[in-house]
């Protein structure tokens, strides 16, 4: 399929593909096996300017749009979702500053984020607050010129590795959803530590830890947007990043298809390559058709965002939901096409299947995405009459 990409977008695709082939594929199994953060790969990504893709030029980035960014995510995801999760979570942590930061905050943080000098993480989830973000228990109390943070964030991607953390905490419990605020916290601030590194089923190259705040004092100016806007910051951040998870789904699905077809062409049973059997042909056809449909949806949503659409919650939820469900199915089918070999660690598809599962869970489970889509449809219908 030709998506009529610009010359620059093709350049981004080729560059991300080169990083995937030269820097990620040779090490992905080891990163996975040993739960190792992809330090060298992230350096290569930074050196290639890809960490600054979505950051405005005035702050040291390249000022590109969502589609440009998603193309990079997709290519990295073809090789390793652990790496692409590290890469995409960096953007997730940056969005609060990008969307709501003051010029001063942007000047302070964005150039270092664009160059890869500083990595970023986004801290929303807690033990009792995942899909239900209103369950947040981490508090931020204003004392003079400082906010005092207390509480524990859970399952935070890039935890421990990031230098900058954008965190949602409750500033006024009595106000419900309007009582949350967003903050930026630097690593090394007294009272801010990390819990254990999680031992995950997949995306094991990415770091996942707790963020522990124990009377952690940060300057008052570290608030992002106004006090009480924390939920809006979080929701807009997730709206902006969600379709990017869809592009991770497209990438891992395509990566699995590429492996499966390469294997199937060489696998001989009953005296002929298994690709000569209709059963395999039909599986491959379904896998590619579903992946292509997912790609078309993700790119359409990216173009909608890039054209300046204000409300894209439903669209980005659909892209995330569809592409990640496809990713789970296609990676599972890739293992099936490859049979016993697919199940073995000598081949990368079992890892792709393990990795793909998280896409249906993080940044809003696919059940929550359906709720977002359904409620938006009903809201629109009720307005129409």
């Amino acid at each position: 399929m030709d998506y009529i990409l610009t010359e620059e977008q093709l350049m981004i695709r080729d560059l991300a593909r080169q990083i995937a082939v030269e820097k990620i594929v040779p090490v992905r199994a080891e990163l996975d096996e040993h739960n190792k953060f992809p330090t060298d790969v992230m350096k290569a990504i930074a050196q290639a300017d890809l960490l600054g893709l979505y950051i405005p030029e005035q702050y040291g980035g390249l000022g590109k749009g969502s589609l440009d960014f998603y193309i990079a995510i997709e290519e990295l995801s073809k090789a390793c979702l652990g790496v692409s999760t590290t890469y995409a979570a960096n953007a997730l942590g940056t969005y609060p500053l990008l969307l709501f930061g003051t010029d001063e905050q942007k000047k302070k943080y964005l150039p270092d984020i664009a160059s890869g000098k500083k990595y970023v993480a986004f801290g929303l989830t807690e033990a009792n607050a995942g899909s239900d973000a209103s369950g947040i228990q981490t508090t931020a109390r204003l004392e003079g010129n400082e906010y005092v943070l207390n509480g524990t964030k859970q399952w935070i991607t890039n935890g421990g590795e990031a230098d900058v953390y954008t965190v949602i905490a409750i500033t006024d419990k009595s106000k419900g959803p309007r009582g949350a605020s967003a903050f930026v916290v630097d690593k090394g601030t007294p009272g801010f530590t990390f819990g254990k590194k999680e031992n995950k089923m997949g995306i094991r190259a990415s770091s996942t830890t707790e963020l522990i705040f124990n009377n952690c004092r940060i300057p008052k100016d570290n608030i992002i947007a106004k006090q009480g806007m924390g939920f809006i910051v979080a929701m807009k951040t997730l709206d902006s990043s969600r379709a990017g998870v869809g592009s991770q789904g497209v990438g891992v699905a395509q990566g699995a298809i590429d492996e499966a077809i390469k294997f199937a062409r060489g696998r001989v049973q009953f005296g002929q390559p298994v690709t000569s059997f209709q059963a395999i042909q039909h599986m491959l056809a379904d896998m590619q058709t579903q992946t292509e449909a997912a790609r078309a949806l993700v790119y359409s949503v990216a173009r909608m965002i890039d054209s300046g659409a204000k409300d894209f919650s439903r669209a980005s939820a659909m892209a995330k939901l569809f592409a990640t469900d496809v990713a789970m199915k296609v990676t599972t089918d890739a293992v099936q096409v490859m049979g016993g070999s697919g199940y073995m660690k000598e081949y990368p598809v079992e890892k792709m299947m393990r990795d793909a599962k998280i896409l249906q869970i993080y940044e809003g489970t696919n059940q929550i995405q359906r709720t977002v889509i359904g409620l938006d449809m009903i809201k629109e219908a009720s307005k129409a009459k």
Binding site: M11, L53, L62
Partner: protein
Amino acid sequence: MNIIVLVKQVPDTSEVKINRETNTLIRDGVPSIINPYDRYAIEEALRLREKHGGKVTALTMGPPQAAEALKEAVSLGVDDVVLLSDRAFAGADTWATSYAISMGIRKIGQYDLIIAGKQAIDGDTAQVGPETADMLGLPFIAYIRKIEKVENNTMVVERLMDEGYDVVETALPCVITVVKEINEPRVPSLKGKMKAKSLKVAPWSAKDIAADESKLGLKGSPTQVVRIFPPAPRGQREMLSGPLEEQAAAVVKKLKEQSLI
């Protein structure tokens, strides 16, 4: 520190076909890349620039399409490029090539170090580096696996040998060729790729580099290729490991099995 990197555009395949009539390589229809060993040379030059400042210039000789290799060098971060391209250069062997390159380097003028890959993957001669050094009257060291330090117009390097390595100190300027152990080449940057895309490479002709035409191209090439053939395949080999006594016993056993002793 001003560095000149010698690069060569080569066909992207290890299975180059040979024209049996002319005994030259068939390049048509084969995509071209920077000689892989030259990517290590470029990387080392960029790292030296990052450490010591200065400028990196990539130089190549070839047909007009060799500009693509120079553009790739720009996408990786080199500052300047020189393309030697002229019909007068055509058909050059390594000697005539080195002459043209040495004249190109003389025209560039200012440099502290010249780096090349240990050899090109198409011709595999490993001659252009040393011949260029000779024509420029510069010291030459091959197979560098590490540049230890650069200071006061001298440089200390490690030269990879079959068994271990040599530590060599040299005066600058000099010419070195590097092996793949020296570094891990970077991928291009997006800004570099954009810069490369808009770059126009104006070639230098034989006249531009004030070359003696009788020393260029086919005319200036003493090499005559009589015949090209693949070397006879070696027999099957097996590497033994473990304690020496066990290895010796295994050798004896195998020789006996084949009734050789």
